[in-house]
Symmetry: C2
Subunit: 334 residues, 2 copies
Amino acid sequence: MNNFEFYNPVSIIFGRDRIGEIKNLIPQKSKVLLLFGGGSIHKNGVYMKVKNALTDFTVKEFGGIEPNPTHETAMKAVEIIKKKKIDFLLAVGGGSVIDATKYIAAAVFVEGDPWDILAHDAEVKKALPFGTILTLPATGTEMNANSVISRRSTLEKLAFSSTKVMPKFSILDPTVPASLPPYQVANGIVDSFVHVIEQYLTYPASAPLQDRFAEAILLTLIEEGPKVFKNPADYNAMANLMWCSTMALNGLISKGVPEDWSIHMIGHELTAFHGIDHARTLAIVLPGIWHVFRKEKSEKLLQYTERIWKIKEGTEDEIIDKAIEKTGNSDKVE
Amino acid sequence: MNNFEFYNPVSIIFGRDRIGEIKNLIPQKSKVLLLFGGGSIHKNGVYMKVKNALTDFTVKEFGGIEPNPTHETAMKAVEIIKKKKIDFLLAVGGGSVIDATKYIAAAVFVEGDPWDILAHDAEVKKALPFGTILTLPATGTEMNANSVISRRSTLEKLAFSSTKVMPKFSILDPTVPASLPPYQVANGIVDSFVHVIEQYLTYPASAPLQDRFAEAILLTLIEEGPKVFKNPADYNAMANLMWCSTMALNGLISKGVPEDWSIHMIGHELTAFHGIDHARTLAIVLPGIWHVFRKEKSEKLLQYTERIWKIKEGTEDEIIDKAIEKTGNSDKVE
């Protein structure tokens, strides 16, 4: 096992009817900026719950954060924060809104060009505190230090990571994503699945617990995914997807083991150039990566196929072909 | 799935040669009290590593914390802390030393009788900050809010829990427990195993990921346990035991599911009255609990027997009898 550090101070508030608790989680007398995306929070009732909980606070709003959030949009929020002396951010949304909020929280304190954080690994020295209310389980950003931001002017899509931009709290209420359209649920399942794969499907590193944790998430996604895709209002199925999705990228399963984020790296380019949904780029890229790296990844591919799909008969190449086939057609599997 | 909160800000520093890093983890100019047990840290080289790392700090020492640490011993440490104006604690030891340090950290700020924290659930309002260097993987205390303290004068053994007494950091170096005697390694494996059981072997709660995480720890303990028992200096086996042991009781697997700590509660009484090692009391009590509650726990006992021991043939009673037998004889299992 490799040496590692594990530090994750995000407070998770999970379950039904938890949104109202933000009034006790946000420091008293905060000037809050409420950040959100395209307005679905108006339709699903989340906006009103948030507003009702924040009557004792000064609240400004910043909507319109786009999927694959951009530097350009983030800079507009930074301007408002400085002008209105905002001191706490509340991100209500999926990965895009939360990732944008992380970047905004850090950019507020940068004197030069904040894009340096992404383009030149400039250190994040300070960030505004923020909490999140997750509306779409997918990216795991609600419990990690990562953010991915795009820049329209240069067609770049880059990532940064800093413990300074970990949420103070994240509220995961499985009733919130209950009205999501099926393609967004599917994207969330695929994104979570591939997050696990990037941290698991490399080569053995004498870390059997990390392997089994990763396999636990994959098996649960395969089991619960079709249920929640069919009916996002199935409370337990959505709860399980949410917890899988958070656990897939909160640092737990990558500790002490090698990682290979090539599927994501190629996928980001596809999104930057062609605007394809993030999860769809992952689904496009994964089979080719496994096909090309079948030798380098063979031990883990065989373990994956046996433990996840219960297949161990055949030559190595036959088993790996099966792994690729099964993974791409998991809804058809008995 | 039940509603839950998850909050664990303990910073884990895992791997070879990490002890020296305490000089950067402890706030500069701290007056440190180094707490330890019976002196094994003098034999295994840990004491010298710690002292060498702390040359820039004022360091006092408090040794002699006993297994099943007592209120009486803790009060002596509290006296020294007050007299010497100590402001940071460093626990170097196993569960006993760390649990005692948690109680001491809280007791320093109690005006009345600190035992009220244990006997009457008095709230811990404040605690001294502390870090730990784990010398014996077993209790999971290095990454949680819990502490168990005994009182000689009343033959009581009680537990308390407060996020105020979570370590700021814990160093898990698998070379440190490499010289442990076999019975202590065995105790650690059994303690970790039963921690998982208390959070897992209850009744189904639509929480398949938590179930699989629990099963991942059990399977890994069954696989790695015999290796590390045979040779505590087997680095990877000890690393895996350490990580299993921490994960078994850091809050992760209990989130959203029912728990049943009856094996521990009965075990604590056996230790308080008869001085039997904690883990041995658990091994004594577990089979009886499963036997008596075979109806109430039947669904989970069947799942456990199938997923852990791959046994699913027979009547319900026969399978549960097998579960009890296999668990008690895991070293004999093919």
